[in-house]
């Protein structure tokens, strides 16, 4: 059972019509926890980002609550994303076809899939989102810890240079820029998932239609098809 283009949990659930399991339950839950944390972080973060948005802190019970809740959720985001990272990083490694995909970005946006190469489980856009999220969340957690006033005494002895005020000023700037970055990536990710019809169900029900797989991730579909065992009596189709 080779997994060059697919993750261990992926498999073809049914053949008439073809449905393909793309994300198992645990991955989906993990994704949604990450998503929710990111959204809450964005809202609470934005309330501190610009005075005009400070009213958003009202959603959390005021600025004082945001002050400890934001970093708390930050930790949750980091941990939960880390789990996602473990599950997905291998298939997000760049491959040859990604370069050609990117070269045809114009076609991508207009939706003429035919001009695009066959792809594995993730296209270059999705890979960009993955690695962008990874990088930005790392930056956010590091700079976040540096500017988290209450916890500075805990780690100061180990990295005193990071506790100095000049360092924390830079951390504040980087945190703000990274936050803007991650919100932009977030918008891209959400929009792409909506714009590419039939994608959302992957993260809600866990499966996609065969056609979706064929259209967007054909190499992924081929591999799953190969990996599928011969239909003997014990494999009820509705497996």
């Amino acid at each position: 059972m080779s997994h060059q283009y697919s993750a261990p949990g992926d498999h073809i659930e049914s053949t008439k019509p073809v449905t393909v399991s793309r994300y198992r339950g645990i991955t989906r839950l993990n994704h949604w926890v990450t998503a929710l944390s990111l959204i809450l972080l964005a809202i609470s973060g934005l309330s501190l980002f610009h005075p005009s948005l400070f009213f958003l802190s009202g959603l959390f019970g005021g600025g004082q609550v945001v002050r400890w809740l934001h970093p708390a959720i930050g930790i949750v985001l980091f941990l939960s994303f880390f789990l996602l990272f473990l599950q997905m990083w291998k298939l997000n490694l760049p491959r040859r076809e990604d370069a050609t995909w990117v070269a045809h970005i114009g076609d991508v946006v207009q939706g003429n899939e035919d001009k695009l190469p066959e792809l594995g489980k993730y296209n270059a856009g999705q890979k960009f989102v993955f690695w962008a999220m990874t990088g930005l969340i790392l930056l956010l957690i590091l700079t976040g810890l540096m500017i988290w006033e209450k916890q500075v005494p805990l780690w100061e002895p180990y990295a005193p240079w990071a506790a100095t005020i000049p360092a924390r000023r830079i951390a504040l700037l980087v945190h703000a820029l990274s936050a803007v970055g991650i919100i932009l990536v977030f918008i891209l990710h959400v929009y792409a998932a909506i714009w590419t019809r039939g994608t959302l169900r992957a993260m809600t029900t866990g499966s996609v239609t065969g056609g979706w797989a064929f259209r967007h991730h054909r190499k992924w579909l081929r591999e799953l098809a190969k990996n599928r065992k011969a239909p003997d009596n014990h494999n009820t189709p509705a497996e």
Partner: protein
């Protein structure tokens, strides 16, 4: 990482949580208006002023005590603050690090509040009444004086000298206390009588 929910913010959180989930709330209700800029209430308003002299060094800076309640009018007076007296010619309202903190000397936790007695060999003080204390002192001093007062010296001259009871007088009591103390101590014939002039 401790999430220390002070009671007030907990209520606001739980309340807000409900609001957040209701979609209607997504209409971004009006956030609480920021509290108007205000300075702390001036804590000396309506206090009773009393002129006094700092108890520490011999510059004798003039101080003003601010108390809640007027002692002179027979009320109980609780000391709130002490500050230099700008009218005093020596310190003109200034005070040193000791004088500026006089209030917390008057209200120190280790101020004595009850007469206490430590019995021979005991490892603790026991609270006793003023009467018990004075009876013990009077009895002890009279017995010691009657036993050890030297009425006449070897040459038969009247000396009335008591050396087995000694008295070490203070450094910050008033002249009036000093005079009352001098009278009592000398009437007993005490010669081992000294004060804090040297240390």
């Amino acid at each position: 990482m401790n999430i220390d929910l002070s009671r007030r913010s907990f209520l606001r959180l739980s309340g807000a949580g409900v609001a957040a989930t209701s979609l209607a709330a997504m209409g971004f209700h009006e956030a609480e208006a920021a509290e108007a800029a205000h300075v702390r209430d001036f804590k000396l308003a309506t206090m009773t002023e009393t002129r006094n002299i700092c108890t520490y060094c011999s510059v004798a800076c003039g101080v003003i005590m601010y108390s809640k309640g007027d002692l002179a009018a027979g009320e109980k007076a609780e000391l709130i603050h002490i500050e230099g007296d700008a009218d005093h010619p020596t310190n003109k309202g200034t005070l040193c690090p000791k004088g500026a903190a006089l209030k917390d000397y008057v209200k120190a936790e280790t101020r004595l509040t009850h007469p206490r007695l430590r019995r021979p060999g005991s490892d603790r003080f026991e609270e006793i009444s003023w009467d018990e204390a004075f009876d013990k002192i009077a009895r002890a001093v009279k017995d010691d004086r009657d036993a050890n007062l030297i009425e006449k010296n070897a040459d038969g001259l009247t000396v009335n000298r008591l050396t087995t009871t000694g008295y070490l007088a203070a450094s910050a009591t008033t002249n009036e206390t000093a005079w009352a103390t001098w009278k009592v101590v000398r009437s007993l014939g005490i010669v081992g009588f000294d004060n804090q002039a040297r240390v």
